[in-house]
């Protein structure tokens, strides 16, 4: 899987650094907890920029290339920040056979971006995901935590309009 790496400048706050420091202190004696630390770091920063990976590598005393290797191996780790509204369209099998691809294509068209990208105003980002467990409502997508089911491409503009305010 190829990941998009953000070119935006990193602007972490001292509070975030302190939070991460606590997480690292708690787990630094157990290298098998690397993924746990990274998951928590992503929870703090929203993504895992290079600068954060360096802090984790130093703190856990694990080579940076190992940390980077883990970050690129797993789909869940994001190297780019998400939009204010993260839209993820389910392309799991149940959704796919019910036309999720057309929904996804329409969304990309409406926002003018592709999967893994964020709109210039930082409002929306798009992601394809695999089964969010709402197959009964297929095809489905999520905007942050809100689930939209039984979608058709024509329902997309109205949903986006709600968030554009």
């Amino acid at each position: 899987m190829v990941k998009k790496i953000s070119k935006l400048p990193f602007n972490g706050t001292p509070e975030q650094a302190a939070q991460l420091g606590k997480v690292i202190a708690q787990h630094k004696h157990d290298p098998s907890q690397l993924m746990t630390v990274m998951q928590k770091a992503q929870g703090i920063y929203g993504y895992l920029p290079y600068e954060v990976q360096v802090i984790i590598a130093d703190g856990m005393d694990i080579p940076l290339e190992k940390v980077y290797g883990v970050s690129t191996f797993y789909a869940q780790f994001a190297l780019s920040p998400a939009g204010k509204y993260a839209v993820s369209v389910c392309l799991g099998t149940a959704c796919y056979v019910k036309g999720a691809q057309a929904v996804f294509d329409r969304l990309c068209e409406e926002l003018g971006i592709g999967a893994g990208e964020c709109t210039e105003d930082g409002l929306f980002s798009i992601e394809a995901c695999r089964c969010i467990g709402a197959c009964g409502l297929a095809p489905v997508m999520m905007v942050n935590d809100e689930v939209y089911g039984n979608l058709t491409p024509d329902k997309i503009p109205a949903i986006l309009a709600k968030y554009r305010g």
Binding site: S32, Q33, M38, V70, Y74, Q76, G92, T93, C135, V147
Partner: protein, 624 residues
């Protein structure tokens, strides 16, 4: 520390507390399906409305609870009411207003609102009549063993698990059975792994038990990678203690003192319920040191996956628990010899574990009386796709695919025709209409070129293109290949390129042969199960739907009308006004017709640029 007698006393008290009409229990018990699917469908406002209306009526003796998946995803949000001396009533497709009406009518006045019940929704009940869920076509052929508590108990309540015989199997085992006895019962039960491979569980446990080591582990595979499958999520969300109890049993039988549950991070509710179950079990002494005073120590930890399909493979999963890139390791050595952190390890799927406490408590016969000669018990399927009743179904092995699709599933919606069903997800294959009477067990499914898989069952109708479906699954494996071995990393990519050519109408008949040859090569030479099974969806569709492949290649047509590049433009004569705009826009002069008459597109000349469609003001030009 707790004795058998104390546990029984606890059970009886806990049971009384949730039994409607019991002196210690509520007047009524109302449950709301509150698993991921229920919440997505809008269970939260329903729950709120129930509580609000009950409070407004001052009904403090009615218990309202959140439970796991009730099984009928299509009909969520679901509310069920247990009242003394009555059949359980199942209300479906609820919303806040309906919930309020149910409270005022059913709860306050004892009048069931028949039109909101399941029988009315499926059309099985006569008007005004109420049909219990258990008598609907959806339920009648099901047998709930692994899912017995899902949708029945509050999964966050240890008390309620105890009420339904929870931790009885563990107590019985630690006080009466030797480790070898546990393994023997499992062997006799005929339980086979539900994660896809179907390896006999008792035998697997005996291998780990036979290896002496200073430390052994139990691992539960809750990575559930098949996209469109949610059996394991439902079990963890709806009945997490069953998995905790089973893992402790496994630890006792194999001599392990620590266990890990590896859960997909995409399942936050499952993780929350599981973590609470572990904490509660530990607090009451069902986990930890010297359980029941038996001298047996066992503790459990949760690790989150991070979205990598290959981590469902057992060796990759263990590498991932160790905090590394989840790449598989060559086997042998098998996990029973050298598994997690290099120690002997037993690894099982969630559903496999969920069956274990029942088997130990009620004996091997209670399980092996269900199923076929070589596949005992039941199997849970996540039924999805083009099917009326999407949901979670648990059927005895040996049930036919036709029974699942036509009776339990209620058939194909919109009067469409069944085309194929996919089992085994990206590792499996499709089952065409001609094989719909196959009875489901491990060996039958393998024999027809599919596999049991972990339980995803996706139904497709005539509008689905089988070449496109094969491409979809392969796209998934290309994406998920970990890259460690060449046949899988490079081979699947080459297959993908050929499939893309086919769906774009650029392939030749030789490409089909090349595709097949590559597929067999990858199957034989890949390192792990991911690569070894990745070509299956392609091979199965080529076997059963070869004419569809040939149509794409030879005639450049997609019979189902899915593959975009192969679609043709047509003018609908009834909508065409004969304005000639399209004719003028066409760069290849493929459109003929005179003014004020319906025009026609000559498909041999058309280059599919779409210019005509863009200029038509009457929506008369369609692609199909």
């Amino acid at each position: 520390m707790i004795s058998v007698a104390e546990l029984n006393e606890w059970r009886n008290a806990a049971k009384a507390k949730i039994t409607a009409g019991n002196a210690q229990g509520p007047a009524m018990r109302i449950v709301v399906g509150y698993a991921t699917c229920g919440i997505a469908a809008g269970a939260a406002p329903v729950l709120e409305a129930l509580k609000r209306e009950l409070a407004s009526l001052g009904k403090t003796d009615v218990l309202v609870e959140e439970v796991g998946c009730i099984g009928m995803c299509q009909y969520e949000p679901i509310v069920e009411i247990y009242a003394p001396g009555e059949q359980k009533i199942t209300y479906v497709l609820m919303n806040a207003e309906k919930a309020a009406r149910v409270v005022h009518s059913h709860v306050a006045n004892g009048k069931v609102v028949a039109e909101y019940t399941i029988g009315a929704a499926t059309g099985e009940a006569k008007e005004g009549e109420v049909l219990p869920l258990t008598q609907t076509a959806f339920y009648q052929k099901q047998r709930r063993v692994a899912l017995r508590n899902c949708g029945v108990i509050d999964p966050e309540s240890l008390d309620q698990y105890i009420a339904l015989d929870g931790y009885q199997a563990l107590t019985k085992t630690l006080t009466q059975l030797q480790p070898g006895d546990v393994i023997q019962i499992l062997k006799d039960s005929g339980l086979r792994g539900r994660g896809g491979g179907g390896f006999p569980t008792g035998l697997k446990w005996s291998f780990t038990a036979a290896n002496a080591a200073d430390q052994k582990y139990v691992v539960c595979n809750a990575d559930e990678g098949d996209p469109g499958a949610f059996m394991d999520r439902s079990v963890l969300e709806g009945d997490p203690h069953a998995v905790v109890e089973a893992m402790a049993l496994c630890g006792y039988a194999t001599g392990a003192t620590e266990g890990y549950v590896y859960v997909r991070a995409e399942y936050p509710i499952a993780v929350k319920h599981l973590e609470k179950a572990i904490d509660d079990a530990r607090a009451k002494g069902f986990l930890g040191k010297n359980i029941f005073g038996s001298g047996f120590d066992f503790d459990l930890f949760v690790r989150l996956g991070a979205g990598a399909f290959v981590c469902g493979e057992e060796t990759a999963l263990m590498t991932s628990i160790e905090g590394k890139r989840g790449e598989p390791r060559p086997r042998p050595p098998y996990p029973a010899v050298k598994g997690l952190f290099g120690k002997p390890t037993t690894e099982n799927n969630v559903e496999t574990f969920a069956n274990v406490p029942q088997i130990i408590l009620h004996g091997a016969e209670s399980f092996n009386c269900l199923g076929t000669q070589k596949s005992k018990g039941t199997k849970v399927f996540a039924l999805g796709g083009k099917i009326q009743n999407t949901g979670l179904v648990e059927i005895p092995m040996g049930t036919t695919l036709r029974e699942i699709i036509e009776e339990i599933g209620g058939g194909i919606p919109n009067g469409k025709r069944f085309k194929a069903a996919q089992t085994g997800g990206p590792s499996g294959g499709c089952i065409p209409e001609s094989l719909i009477d196959t009875s489901i067990d491990y060996d039958n499914l393998t024999a027809i070129g599919s596999m049991m898989g972990s339980g995803g069952l996706i139904v497709m109708d005539e509008d689905n293109c089988m070449v496109d479906i094969a491409r979809f699954f392969l796209d998934f494996t290309v994406d998920e290949s970990c890259g460690k071995c060449n046949p899988c990393r490079i081979g699947t990519k080459r297959m993908m390129e050929i499939l893309n050519k086919i769906t774009e109408g650029k392939a030749t008949m030789q490409d089909l042969d090349k595709l097949e040859e590559l597929a067999y090569h990858i199957k034989e030479n890949s390192l792990c199960g991911l690569g070894q099974t990745a070509p299956n969806p392609v091979l199965a569709t080529m076997k059963h739907f070869r004419d569809e492949y040939i149509a794409h290649v030879a005639e450049k047509k997609c019979p189902a009308g899915v593959c975009k590049a192969l679609l043709n433009y047509y003018i609908l004569p009834e909508k065409c006004k004969g304005c000639t705009a399209c004719k003028r826009a066409c760069p290849t002069n493929a459109i003929t017709g005179s003014a004020k008459e319906a025009h026609v597109i000559n498909n041999d000349q058309c280059i599919k640029c779409g210019a005509c469609q863009a200029t038509c003001k009457f929506g008369a030009i369609v692609k199909k």
